[in-house]
């Protein structure tokens, strides 16, 4: 793991390995505790494969009681814990530590309750995102957030990362679709928050937990809202001779009061890579390609498609094609969905970035990226959730060439700095993890990060849950709790004293 500093190993923990494994095995017997190298290899990495680390020991509990007992034991013995769902994180959120228990939640794989009358589903965290939709589809319902890894990723991981997907402009991120959670704290306490009702009273624990990247607690049950599937969906493919007009077209669609189910953009390198791979019928002579998908009642979709077509022509679109069948709609998407593997065909390796920008800055950011591409001597292709400004630049490199990985990482960091500079953020949906951890100061001041870490301290005062993720510098909670108040001065001297 060159270049990535992780917390120093706790020697005392390492020295007690046999005893710790035995204690964990007493809680989670049989195959539920894995301590042999071959068995643990599976867990050495997540979706961010550039980094690998063999876990200290792997535990796969099956019951809430086991999770609570494991965490309580780890808390009492000051042993670190890395929670893991399906391991599809693109930011290294589930990267193991050499002295930490890797807590896999994948045996929590049951759907507990489906309540169509209240439009909710309660599931265990190891259930995959797609499995929720599959469990409710027979009644015409679905679970809206659909990250591209939805076949594999777990709902527990979605909660940890606040996952999005192509439909989140209209239907929200995970945080907007979670109604309730059961959480086990590092002390082994089981908390239940929310439920089938809307909103919570007291502090918004759901808001703290969703997107907390496994640093605050371990989720053992998730209640989500399910929605009626849209009656129909149609897509329009729009090509532009320049990216500026493509960006303006997206803005004009939104200004017209239209929130499409999905609105994706690809730049020329991405269009060519995708077209070469899946032959989706994309035009090759354009600089930017938009896929705009409208969903809802048939009448509404037809009505809005007309409006979108009109707007596209106003902004100088050179190609406008509306899907005439479900098959054609699928073909439009096939290229976009295959964009990552398509880029994988033309380059030995690629790195997927994930910044968000205000859309009005699109042309400037794409130009900036072109300049950076020259500077770092590496190619870049862009796919873009255009509706919400979430960019996924794919940096092409060859890890077998000495120095290229480092150059790709430097290029990626420069892109994210550019996103922040124009008013955007470091990550739109993949999470900070270890990947963007050291860039956090680009976006946040020391005081911003200290306040975030005080939240961490309220949940986990000894930094035992997923340490080394999200925060570039770990401050001791005692130090963070100290007050440094400047004495004396009374503001507003001209008002009556109290």
């Amino acid at each position: 793991m060159s270049g990535l500093a992780m917390p120093a190993l706790n020697e005392a923990t390492l020295a007690r390995r046999a005893e710790i494994v035995a204690a964990l095995r007493a809680i989670v017997p049989g195959e539920g505790t894995v301590d042999d190298e071959t068995g643990m290899r599976t867990y050495e990495s997540d979706g961010l494969t550039a980094y690998r680390q063999l876990p200290f020991v792997v535990v796969l509990p099956e019951t809430v009681e086991q999770v609570a007992a494991v965490l309580k034991y780890c808390h009492e013995n000051e042993i670190r814990v890395v929670p893991r769902g399906a391991g599809t994180s693109l930011s290294g959120g589930a990267l193991p530590l050499g002295d930490a228990v890797l807590l896999s939640m994948m045996r929590f794989n049951r759907i507990l309750d489906i309540d169509f009358a209240n439009r909710s589903a309660t599931v265990q965290p190891g259930v995959t995102n797609l499995a929720i939709t599959q469990a409710v589809a027979h009644e015409g319902f679905y679970y809206a957030p659909d990250p591209s890894s939805q076949i594999a990723c777990s709902i527990g991981g979605n909660v940890a990362e606040n996952s999005g997907g192509v439909h989140c402009l209209k239907y929200g991120l995970t945080t907007n679709n979670v109604l309730g959670l059961e959480i086990v704290t590092i002390e082994g306490e089981v908390l239940r928050v929310g439920g089938k009702h809307l909103d919570q009273e007291g502090y918004d624990w759901l808001a703290f937990m969703v997107g907390s990247e496994g640093l605050l607690g371990v989720v053992t049950e998730v209640t989500v809202r399910i929605l009626r599937s849209p009656e129909t969906a149609r897509a329009v493919l729009v090509g532009f001779p320049d990216t500026e007009n493509a960006g303006s077209c997206v803005a004009a669609i939104i200004a017209a009061g239209i929130i499409p189910g999905g609105m994706e953009m690809m730049d020329k390198p991405a269009i060519h890579a995708a077209e070469d791979f899946v032959h989706a019928g994309y035009p090759r002579d354009v600089e930017a390609l938009l896929i705009v998908e409208l969903d809802g009642p048939q009448v509404e979709v037809d009505h809005l498609l007309e409006r979108v077509e009109k707007i596209a022509h106003q902004f100088g679109a050179t190609h406008v094609r509306v899907s005439q069948s479900e098959e054609e709609r699928a073909t439009f998407w096939a290229g976009r969905k295959a964009a990552f593997p398509a880029v994988g065909r033309i380059s030995p390796d690629y790195m997927c970035m994930d910044g968000t920008i205000p859309r009005r800055e699109l042309a400037r950011v794409l130009q900036g990226m072109a300049d950076l591409s020259t500077k770092h001597g590496l190619r870049v292709a862009n796919v873009f959730h255009a509706g919400d400004g979430n960019l996924h630049p794919l940096i092409l490199f060859d890890a077998n060439q000495p120095g290229e990985l480092e150059r790709a990482e430097a290029f990626g960091a420069d892109i994210l700095r550019l996103c922040v500079e124009v008013g955007g953020c470091l990550t739109g949906e993949h999470g900070v993890g270890v990947e963007k951890r050291d860039l956090m100061p680009e976006m946040f001041t020391e005081d911003d990060l200290k306040q975030q870490q005080r939240v961490k301290c309220a949940f986990d005062p000894h930094h035992l849950l997923n340490p080394g993720k999200v925060f570039p510098t770990l401050h001791r909670c005692a130090e963070l709790g100290r007050m440094h108040v400047h004495h004396g001065k009374l503001p507003f001297p001209d008002i009556p004293r109290f």
Partner: protein, 394 residues
């Protein structure tokens, strides 16, 4: 002896809080105070009035982003968004008449309380639309979280998490919110004569259909607002004209067996603003509860209301507004017991005279482990308890 500080800038807010820490003199934090009577009285003699931090900082309709200072009034924001055909999708209620308050609600108070209106059912609450926050903690330190773009998972989601914390963790000085297009038109289909149980079943069917219903309320005869005869079960459809017409016929077919009528755009707006602002209970002097439960549990929980109560159902049955006579605990124990028996939720005492407030907890009691965590969270932001002490206690 009390007094009021009226900071005009972020830095003055910070100075005021630093002063409070040093002097050991906590603040009640207020905007225009329209919802002040909801919470128990704070244990603070001094007041920090942040309504002077007002005005829109940036409004970018094409980015769906609005940045504002907390003292900006909801009315001013609505007027600005209206010019661009946009709105806050969470349909903020104006509770001032219900609470007998004068003045215009501010965004800061809306953020602090997380109260959303009928469209919360499908569009989410205030917290679902929060994107970024700048605030001063009870430690007297400025910090920010989130950002000014609609999709952002960088760090803990504090702009959402601070929403609904009743000003007990930090004082917001700048907020960024997601805005959305205002529907082109709306109509409401009314089903007449249903019992609460029948109404909730009908609303559940409607919400589970592809009609994309954006409001579902049941108004028993005794709470039906002007122009509507109760019991009335109202289903609102919003959006583009042709789409609204098509979805209306869909619902009319679905409920062909019921006694149906249609409210046009103007009548529909009037009905939903009455539901949103709880108009039927304005000026009656009785206690008012706001109760959130699973929608199908609504009718059962309503039965726990004390004799002489009136109940209005919103959120397809999941939000109960209960007006209860002020005798005994005004139904607190029975209603909260029914909420627990129904599988969870919360009952908040929204309107009550001081005597009742002294007896009955405003907020639904939380279980012990959450209470302990709340205390630790509070310490993480405001260790000296200088911000609204007592407001979220109990």
């Amino acid at each position: 002896m009390g007094g009021t500080l009226t900071p005009q800038t972020e830095d003055e807010v910070r100075e005021a809080i630093v002063w409070a820490i040093n002097a050991g003199e906590p603040f009640e934090v207020v905007g225009h105070g329209t919802k002040r009577s909801i919470s128990p009285p704070t244990q603070a003699a001094a007041t920090l009035d942040v309504s002077g931090l007002d005005g829109i900082v940036a409004y970018e309709p094409e980015e769906l982003v609005l940045t504002l200072r907390p003292g900006t009034t909801m009315a001013e924001l609505a007027a600005e968004m209206d010019k661009k055909g946009q709105m806050f999708a969470f349909e903020p209620p104006n509770l001032a008449p219900l609470l007998g308050a004068v003045g215009e609600a501010t965004f800061g108070g809306t953020f602090a309380t997380n109260f959303a209106g009928p469209r919360r059912l499908t569009a989410g609450a205030v917290r679902d639309h929060m994107l970024g926050v700048h605030a001063i903690s009870g430690r007297g330190e400025a910090f920010k979280a989130g950002g000014k773009v609609v999709k952002n998972v960088t760090g803990y989601d504090l702009s959402r998490a601070l929403c609904g914390s009743w000003g007990t963790l930090a004082v917001a000085t700048e907020l960024t919110v997601k805005v959305l297009p205002r529907p082109e038109t709306e109509v409401t289909l009314v089903l007449a004569g249903l019992t609460a149980d029948e109404a909730v079943a009908a609303m559940s069917r409607a919400m589970g259909s592809s009609a994309d219903v954006s409001g579902a309320a049941h108004l028993p005869a005794e709470v039906a607002p002007n122009g509507v005869t109760g019991p009335a079960t109202a289903l609102r459809l919003e959006g583009f004209g042709p789409s609204v017409s098509a979805r209306l016929s869909h619902l009319q077919t679905m409920f062909a067996a019921a006694s149906l009528s249609v409210l046009d755009e103007a009548a529909s707006r009037a009905l939903w603003s009455a539901v949103r602002d709880v108009t039927p209970f304005v000026g009656t002097g009785h206690a008012v509860w706001r109760i959130s439960v699973a929608p199908t549990a609504g009718p059962e929980v309503a039965k726990a209301a004390p004799a002489g109560s009136r109940v209005m159902f919103d959120w397809a049955g999941g939000l109960l507004w209960v007006e209860a006579p002020i005798t005994g605990d005004a139904g607190a124990a029975a209603l909260r017991g029914a909420v627990a028996a129904a599988g969870g939720g919360h009952a908040t005492l929204i309107r009550a005279p001081a005597t009742l407030r002294a007896e009955v907890a405003t907020f639904h009691p939380s279980p012990a482990p959450l209470k302990a965590l709340s205390e630790r969270l509070r310490n993480a932001f405001d260790p000296q308890a200088v911000l609204n002490p007592g407001r979220m206690a109990r």
